[in-house]
Amino acid sequence: MLQTIFQRLGLSVFTLGFVSVVVFFSVEALPGNICTAFLQRFAEGPRLERCIAEQGLETPAIQRYGQWVVSAVQGDFGTSLKQRREVADLLAERFRNTALLAGAAAAIGIPLALVLGFWAGLTRDRPSDLAISTIAMLAMTIPEFVTASVLIFVFAIVLNWVPAVTILPPSAPLVDLLPNIVLPVVVLAFLMTAHILRITRASVIEVMASDFIKMAQLKGVPERQIFWRHLAPSALIPVVNTIALTFAWLLGGVVVIEQVFNYPGIGNLMLRAIYDRDLPLVQAIVLTFALIYVVANLLADLAMVLLDPRIRSAQDRA
């Protein structure tokens, strides 16, 4: 089991390394460099020279990549071109805010998706299943910026229950942020639930059709026991994997949602950085997104090892 965990860890490190290469060298492939991209038509004279010196662009790309990775591991992502602050500082305060958003959405979305997914899967093709599946389909195809705009209109403007947009700085205390996350969390949880429940439903249907469940039913094993002993663990395995995969997809949604709600998170920072052509900041943010994904995936892998006795024992024997 330990060996599996180490394997997965190694894989995660490899993934991050590869992403860092993609992120770094896709920018290097630019005609010009970070400074000319940032300064555009003012990329000349002392302004350009100062930028090049500050960003250390005289050294060869390979060497700079090495330095970038080494400092990134130590939590230093250099300085933002536009905001003239440490990228790590900018990221830190906003990471907290996005984590709050995503964490709350996951806390609501995952259990909800599992319940609805099992319910739909076990009542396949009956009204409850059709209703759940249709709503999930709509949730996945209606763009999140529409859902968000409608929710703002109904709950913030007409009913006045919650704030419409966040009007706090990134460093605001968490307590002050809480009322502001209600609507974005609902939108995010809605999306997340739809994705995970579809997979859950499919997985439940597949497992229910499998021989060992049929066998158990024939043997007269109590339904409750079938559910908890056989169905739930088997059906959850692909779901756990999906939860991690869905995460990467959802982080994109976070960008849009933070924009609509004016929420001071990483997604919002990323849009600003792209507007500003602040590539060092953009690179750091994409890498952060990849890190979040990799960690989520790692946790999913570990959960899977714990869930599936076959993987556990097979690995131990190997």
């Binding site: 763009p143 910026f145 994705h195 597949e206």
Partner: protein, 293 residues
């Protein structure tokens, strides 16, 4: 867990396939919605008498009427005209990107499946790593490198979604590769390219087709997000994402100029999605495990 045998696509005559798609209500709905949208995009110039981009000070935020079936927006433009034209760009951009994704993702996947061994194992590690970059973040990074705009985004979308296709294509190829006729071809010493084209492609093409349609529907959603953020279509192009972005603040006053473009976008995505699903079932392709991405 019990693995379900994956039947390779058996093809069959066209009418037969259509019949099988239409056998399910979801297939009928999907086909109808998709055809409806394609027809709309093709016939758009004939359907609307109003100019799509010219502002008109006298017709601002009018509610739906016979003259303006879906009302008018905050610049006095006919929403119906803009909605029927609004799919053209998105459909073209995403269709091209989907074709790229299927072509390159499909061939790389087949190659890896046929070659197998170490190469395959290592390459798949890279594919998995690539998939850990959130798609929208990747598009935005690329947009900041190559500049935004609807057409510059095509290769980026195609490339990224193609990575996901590699996995599917490879998995399907592995099923085929283990079969006797491929083994025999290998034993005959045929070139990899020949094997891929003659033995593998006919057997995985239906999977790729279904996958392509599925990816296409998610690309439409991604493209609308990009337009919404200002990196897809640019004003005054009628585009659903862009229309929603500029009118969403007026939801209370002129909900029609937000909700109609949204309805158009969602029905198109649902249509393609259902069609792909029905197509998959009709061709015997099992894709319950897939995640949009």
């Amino acid at each position: 867990m019990v693995a379900r045998p994956r039947s390779s696509g058996t093809g069959g005559p066209r009418s037969h396939l259509l019949h099988r798609i239409m056998a399910r209500p979801s297939g009928v709905i999907g086909l109808a919605l998709t055809l409806f949208h394609v027809a709309l995009a093709l016939l758009a110039p004939l359907l609307s008498v109003h100019d799509v981009s010219l502002p008109n000070a006298d017709t601002i935020n009018l509610a739906p009427s016979w003259e303006h079936l879906m009302g008018t927006d905050s610049l006095g433009r006919d929403v119906f005209a803009r909605v029927v034209h609004g799919g053209q760009l998105a459909l073209m951009v995403t269709a091209c990107a989907a074709a790229i994704a299927i072509t390159w993702g499909g061939s790389v996947g087949m190659l890896l499946g046929v070659v197998g061994g170490r190469t395959d194992e290592i390459a798949m590690r890279f594919v998995d790593a690539m998939l850990s970059i959130p798609s929208l973040a990747f598009f935005l990074l690329m947009a900041s490198v190559v500049g935004g705009g609807a057409w510059t985004i095509v290769p980026v979308l195609g490339f990224f979604y193609g990575v996901a296709v590699i996995r599917i294509s490879r998995a399907a190829t592995l099923q085929v590769a283990a079969q006797d006729f491929v083994m025999a071809a290998k034993a005959r010493g045929e070139r990899t390219g020949t094997i891929m084209r003659r033995e593998v492609l006919p057997n995985v093409s239906s999977i790729l087709l279904v996958e392509g349609a599925m990816q296409w529907s998610w690309m439409l959603l991604a493209f609308s997000s990009l337009s919404f953020l200002g990196y897809g279509a640019t004003p005054p192009t009628p585009d659903w994402g862009l229309m929603i972005a500029s009118e969403r603040g007026l939801l209370a006053v002129a909900p029609w100029s937000v909700l109609w473009p949204c309805a158009a976008l969602s029905t198109l995505i649902i249509g393609i999605n259902l069609l792909a699903d029905a197509l998959g079932k009709a061709l015997g392709v099992d894709r319950t495990r897939e995640v949009p991405g």
